[in-house]
Symmetry: none
DNA sequence: TATGAATGAGAGTTCATTCAT
DNA sequence: TATGAATGAACTCTCATTCAT
């Protein structure tokens, strides 16, 4: 990487790519170091183990995602506005950072405990997105008769599933359908449109 | 495993569990053999490599899923009926076979090419579910003005995302929300209800 | 090593030599395997870690020593007879097995806790030498007015020091004195004579 | 360490402790530096290698020991006086500097050649203790019929073994006997008494 | 005199795979 | 069909040492 960027940052970035591509066990410390343009030993100098580097990468990934979410959620948000904006912001963000959903999903499967712990830590440190506040908002939407879904957990599962699985599941659906979707921009635009329509029509009262 | 089951079957079953829990690279041949109650060498005797055992496991998993799907899709299916039945069947099936979604998603990320190839092979051998026929059906639903989504790829992404991500994403949403969902049956019932309602209200015209 | 000897034995023997020559940290797993005529991985196959191999070596060394001691100590032993025979048997045994005192002393310094634990284990399994019985014997010798030293701990320290330090300390004394002692047999004979005389004259009443 | 002590001194002291506890190979340069309160690089700045630092530590240890010995040996020394005073002085000195016997014994085993060379160097620079003069004294004691042991090498081995092995062998004897000796002062007093009595009774004519 | 960052060689350990029986 | 022993390559990690400042 650029000589100006500190080695630590370079390792973190390279680790993110490698872990996203191969998962924790599949990733090679050697490959990460090479990609970061430095010595294997530096990785241990800064992160002391592959595991800890991985945690740092995961924490970074989650941190970015929730920083992004913080921007969408604010006091006077209506459910309509939320459903119009969230999928676009989220899907575009994941498209710009394709490693993120992979790392998330890999870890979600491999070690859910660790995932939860890391997330809890993120929320503690990141004041921009407050999950409790958001949950309260969803509940009040239901109480005001604005949305059909009364359980905020399922509300969120619906929203997040549609957004995040767009990425992971795309090859699956392509394989099933035999259709190759347009690459890049066109696909995301269509995807966002489809999700927004489904959410608004399906969840607003 | 049981002395009655052949070693080969025992290895396949153990492999499925191990691969689901740790992914391809994370899985250990030794652990699979031990769990199968036999010698490491037997694994190579029957499957000749870890990679080939993995492919057999993945093929088995996909085969089961599409056999299940075959039961839902038939000539006179209406979209309403499809949306009422699919999530329930699919979610309950995945709940009974929790290793399946994990293996799918792991492999989807790790090696999408292989995933597609394996799927294509499945379709060739498995006459019960014909994706092309199903796609045609979705298109005709749209042409008849029964559904809002014109692109069958996004139609399927919507349906599948909501079902499969229920499993993978549950710990994520629990971590965000701080809510522990009811375990097992109650959760699945609620999940199915929510997905069916969303799909019917959101995608039917 | 001989093809007939099992690899496990060969590794144990090679480990003893290597640990004696270089201590625990100085010893190289690679070197042990090479000396044992087998692959590094075999060492882990049988002993699972360098540390555990080391413990096995130490336990073996201690076991041999106490098996030897068991031969000297019996019911009707007089202190005179003990002092006449013990140094000879012990010194000759250590001379035949020069790795033993080195390993003992290395470990005594490095990890006294581990040393004690290992010894305790040896005594439990090795019925030939019963330290408690021997201690009782020493006490009764003093009560009968046969020996001057009333504390059995110091009695043993005296006896053992003179025997074991003959080996470790020899290069030290040679360096101080500038004298090169005769190698091998002649030295041991002289050493045994000197120790026996000192013990008998100095400790018998 | 203390800001007043120069870094060089601090490193030497820390090195002595670390080498004594873990031997040459077991000692870590990093740990020494940390214990000395300074940077790893400083260690190389002052001593240019781990090996050279070790030699400096060993030389220091031996120097202190022989400086101490110089005080005991003087022209008109009688063997009786020597045996009365030497064990006490030596044992108390080692008790005050517990790292010394460990380093000595570690090195004695690991690299006797180096040990001898270092010792020779010490004697050349340290006029207070002249081993040749002392040996002549022992020989003349024998010629005058004052002591039983005619070989000065065995005379010294006897004296030194009993003193130095008190430290190294103590955990061994405690493990054998199951007795925990009194800690500290009481043990040393008893040990000195026992050694002095044995030497005087056993070696004086 | 002091430091944080960097390095290369090599350490212990793991792992898929094969062999002899 | 089954097994315990063996292997070589690769892996994560360590460590003495050096460099730039």
């Amino acid at each position: 990487m650029a000589k100006t960027a500190s080695s630590k940052e370079a390792i973190l970035a390279a680790g993110r790519r490698e872990f996203a591509a191969r998962g924790f066990s599949g990733a090679r410390v050697e490959a990460i170091a090479r990609a970061a343009g430095c010595n294997k030993a530096m990785l241990f100098y800064y992160f002391s183990s592959k595991e800890k580097l991985y945690r740092a990468v995961l924490a970074g990934a989650l941190g970015e995602i929730f920083a992004e979410l913080g921007g969408v959620v604010h006091a006077r948000l209506t459910p309509e506005r939320f459903m119009e904006r969230f999928p676009g912001i989220y899907i575009r963000f994941l498209a710009r950072n394709p490693d993120l959903p992979r790392i998330l999903v890999f870890d979600l499967i491999r070690d859910p405990e660790n995932f939860s712990r890391t997330m809890a830590g993120i929320f503690r440190e990141n004041s921009e997105f407050n999950p409790q506040r958001f949950l309260g908002m969803v509940r009040s939407w239901h109480d005001q008769g604005l949305i059909a879904e009364e359980d905020p957990l399922h509300f969120m599962l619906n929203v997040i599933s549609l957004s995040i699985f767009s990425f992971v599941g795309r090859p699956m659906v392509e394989a099933i359908s035999g259709l190759r979707s347009e690459d890049g921009e066109a696909f995301y635009r269509a995807r966002i449109r489809s999700v927004v329509r489904l959410l608004k029509k399906g969840m607003l009262k």
